[in-house]
Amino acid sequence: MVPLSWYLLLAAALFSVGLYGVLARKNAIAILMGIELMLNAVNVNLVAFWRYRTPELIAGQAFAVIVFATAAAEVAVGLALIISIYRRRNTVVAEDIDLLKF
């Protein structure tokens, strides 16, 4: 049988890969993809904890459903911002978008 630790280690690794993508990538869309990976790692953790610790309470799956909705909202607004910035400044490189830099 697969113990809980395997799922937790996989989710931690997936989250770390997403974190590297967010920190290291230049392109704003690639940064959004890293965020998607991190949200998926969180969902794996929520469902694994639900299945292994409290299968009689459905809270873990309900939380995961709400994370789905939030991820969809986040990616819609994020991509709209990126497209708007691309129209005005002709770039999607995160380093070049420095209008608010002090």
Binding site: M1, F15, V92
Partner: protein, 171 residues
């Protein structure tokens, strides 16, 4: 090694390998396609965890909607930051170091926890997770208010996205 462990290792290898390709691929369209593979691996993990509804929702929402949205955004912003020598910024080494340290810290913290190697408890034949989830999402005693708030949030975010991406020069 049982068949379940074998299947888990294959799924984990597909998911993690695709995730690494997402953050390292030079061509952004390839990165988006690898992202679809990683999301599909996570959907298969949901099936292994007896969460069938979430697996279907993962395929419909993430692979069907979010990935397509990302590919559209990549095509609309074509030619920026592609074909250049590198796709990573100057601080990618610090980012990699931070990710490795974060992973090590998580593993260390989890290994201290007594429930780390819990085995999967049996679900009774009478217990139906799908029915339970459906009732929990519409029951006033459970999660109907968070669920409705999430739907209003999604609606507001989509209206906001249309307004933000509106091209005023077209008028």
């Amino acid at each position: 090694m049982t068949s379940q462990q074998f299947i888990f290792i294959i799924l984990a290898a597909i998911t993690l390998g695709s995730a690494v390709m997402v953050v390292t691929a030079r061509n952004l369209v390839h990165a988006a396609l690898w992202l679809i593979a990683a999301l599909f691996g996570v959907a298969c993990l949901f099936v292994a965890l007896d969460a069938g509804f979430l697996a279907v929702a993962q395929v419909i929402i993430y692979i069907g909607a979010i990935s397509i949205l990302i590919i559209f955004a990549i095509m609309l912003t074509r030619g920026v930051g592609q074909g250049t020598s590198t796709q990573t910024n100057a601080n990618w080494g610090w980012g990699a170091l931070l990710a490795v340290v974060f992973f090590g810290g998580l593993v260390w913290l989890l290994s201290l926890w007594s429930g780390f190697t819990t085995q999967k408890p049996e679900i009774g034949r009478a217990f139906d997770p799908l029915r339970q989830l459906g009732q929990a999402l519409v029951s006033p005693n459970a999660y109907v208010i968070p669920f409705e708030v999430a739907s209003v949030l999604l609606l507001a975010a989509l209206i906001g996205a249309i307004i933000v991406a509106w091209d005023r020069r077209l008028k």
